[in-house]
């Protein structure tokens, strides 16, 4: 694979998790420096650098097994890197949306109870968070009865209720149909604008997230390329990883729609075409 060589740095001797000093750069929430992670002899991440600031959306893309989920788990402190440093802003509050939530059938629990778990949430805030993600009607539903897309929205509401400085979203559009995905990414952008939080998300598809991201990191165990989504989409390293599927996705996007779908799948006519 023709990927640019990565800087080989030895951060072994340094403490792996430090606090960012506010003086360094006040708006930086998270700074990953030279992260390496391995399970036994199998290397999963090598020399990964990543920085995310307040109000910035960073998307990690890469094929299956590229180490995307591992990377965000290292970023959140769920996994200890073998090498490198994870620097966090002091008192960083993270809202995490995991890839999936498996709820035992034997556990009777409603959406509202799940959102309130382990914290005090006022009725107004709960209603607002559910409305924000278009899940008002799900409030009293059993958590197990939700469809994949509904569960994603509830998980996003759960993350929002943390009033996070940083939103970490692992494949947020999973189980959501393609039109709903575009809607979801627009929502994530709006949330960023309103709350001025940083967003770190994982996706396996560049074109879906392109409009909603400031920085793309193309990961395949190491950072193959990174930068503005436009730039990355033309990068040889990116094309080598995604070439074929990319062409197919572009074909999908040229398909003409007279309407788009809301988060719940409802039809929303285009204002432009209806005028």
């Amino acid at each position: 694979m023709s990927c640019p060589a990565n800087p080989v740095l030895d951060y072994n001797k340094l403490k792996s998790s430090l606090l960012l000093t506010p003086r360094a750069r006040p708006d930086v929430l998270l700074d990953l420096r030279g992260i390496a992670y391995a399970v036994g002899a199998r290397s999963i991440l090598q020399g990964v650098f990543l920085q995310i600031a307040r109000g910035q959306i960073v998307t990690v893309i890469g094929p299956n097994g590229a180490g995307k989920t591992t990377l965000i788990k290292v970023a959140m402190g769920l996994l200890e890197p073998n090498e490198g440093q994870v620097l966090r802003a002091p008192d960083l509050r993270i809202g995490y949306m995991p890839q999936r939530l498996h709820v035992e059938r034997t556990m009777p629990i409603s959406v509202a109870r799940f959102l309130r778990l382990g914290r005090t949430v006022t009725k107004e805030k709960l209603t607002a968070a559910l409305a924000r993600v278009g899940a008002d009607a799900l409030r009293d539903a059993r958590l197990q009865d939700l469809s994949g897309g509904e569960l994603q929205r509830v998980l996003l509401a759960h993350a929002l209720l943390q009033a996070p400085h940083l939103l970490v979203l692992d494949e947020p559009a999973q189980g959501v149909d393609l039109k709903g995905q575009a809607e979801l990414y627009r929502l994530i952008m709006r949330i960023r604008d309103e709350q001025q939080c940083g967003v770190l998300m994982v996706s396996h598809d560049l074109h879906l997230v392109m409009a909603a991201t400031d920085e793309v990191i193309c990961l395949n165990q190491h950072v193959c390329c990174h930068g503005h989504p436009e730039k990355v989409s033309h990068d040889p390293a990116y094309l080598e990883l995604f070439g074929q599927r990319d062409a197919e996705m572009m074909a999908f996007y040229t398909h003409y729609h007279r309407h788009h779908h809301g988060l719940a799948g409802e039809v929303i006519p285009h204002r432009e075409t209806d005028k």
């Binding site: 769920l78 995490y96 995991p98 009777p108 409603s110 778990l117 382990g118 914290r119």
Partner: protein
């Protein structure tokens, strides 16, 4: 009613009270096999207690807690905590306990340890059971929401600042204490059933985790009363009678649920 029946009922109800909420977590977290493993180690505690001539209840509590810590350490190393290894641990500790009991200076009534001997509960033992149940109840009450959070999604809970490892250890130790004090009620071989059947019964009607916990306690207490009554009237073994009543309640609840 005689004193010993009142003591038996009190002991059984105390254990059922705490086994309800605890059992919910065992069901939700699929820890039934851990319960069996802990229960089997209780017999090892009895053997040690007799051989070293120390307080029996203390020896059992200690043995269960020691194994609980061992299991938590094993669980951390995920590749080890397989059903197979738990099975090896459970049955070898049961077997080792039985072998060791044959070396004890006094003859022991093995059946009473294996299947419980509720009607012979002494006042002293009742204090132990009450103390253990109260301790477990307070621990569960104080950590209830946090335990629910780690049961739903451990990593989510960790990101939100919960100390998952400590909570898991706590749950395991609570389970060890409850197992240790309930040995007298239904015996080593049937303890897990007292923690699993009542929650499974309550689940049919519960709409929240709390309802399921309370329902499980009620179902457990009802099973204890039924078992003691049956044992009193027809002179059947008390422990197994309690488990049979619990199972009957489960079947009835399943039928009621199916009809509605």
């Amino acid at each position: 009613m005689d004193d010993f029946v009142i003591r038996a009922l009190a002991a059984g109800i105390l254990v059922a009270l705490v086994a309800g909420p605890l059992g919910c977590f065992i069901v939700w977290r699929r820890m039934a096999y851990f319960g069996d493993t802990l229960a089997h180690s209780a017999l090892l505690g009895i053997a040690f207690g007799l051989l070293l001539d120390i307080n029996m209840q203390l020896a059992v509590v200690f043995a269960c807690c020691a194994l609980a810590v061992l299991l938590v350490l094993m669980e951390r190393n995920k590749s080890l905590a397989s059903d197979t290894l738990l099975g090896i641990l459970a049955h070898s500790s049961l077997a080792l306990g039985l072998v060791m009991l044959s070396f004890t200076p006094v003859q022991v009534d093995l059946l009473s340890y294996l299947f419980g001997d509720l009607l012979t509960v002494s006042t002293r033992e009742l204090w132990w059971i009450g103390g253990g149940a109260l301790l477990a109840m307070v621990a569960l009450y104080m950590t209830w929401n946090r335990l629910l959070a780690i049961t739903l999604h451990e990593e989510l809970a960790r990101v939100e600042g919960l100390d998952v490892a400590r909570l898991r250890l706590l749950l395991m130790l609570v389970m060890a204490v409850v197992v240790a004090v309930s040995m007298k009620i239904v015996g080593v071989l049937l303890i897990t059933s007292l923690m699993i059947i009542p929650p499974a019964t309550a689940r049919h009607f519960a709409r929240s985790p709390e309802q399921m916990a309370v329902g499980a306690s009620l179902a457990g207490m009802l099973a204890v009363c039924g078992g003691v009554a049956v044992s009193w009237i027809w002179d059947t073994p008390t422990g197994p009678s309690i488990v049979v009543s619990a199972a009957l309640l489960f079947v009835i609840s399943a039928l009621l649920k199916a009809r509605s």
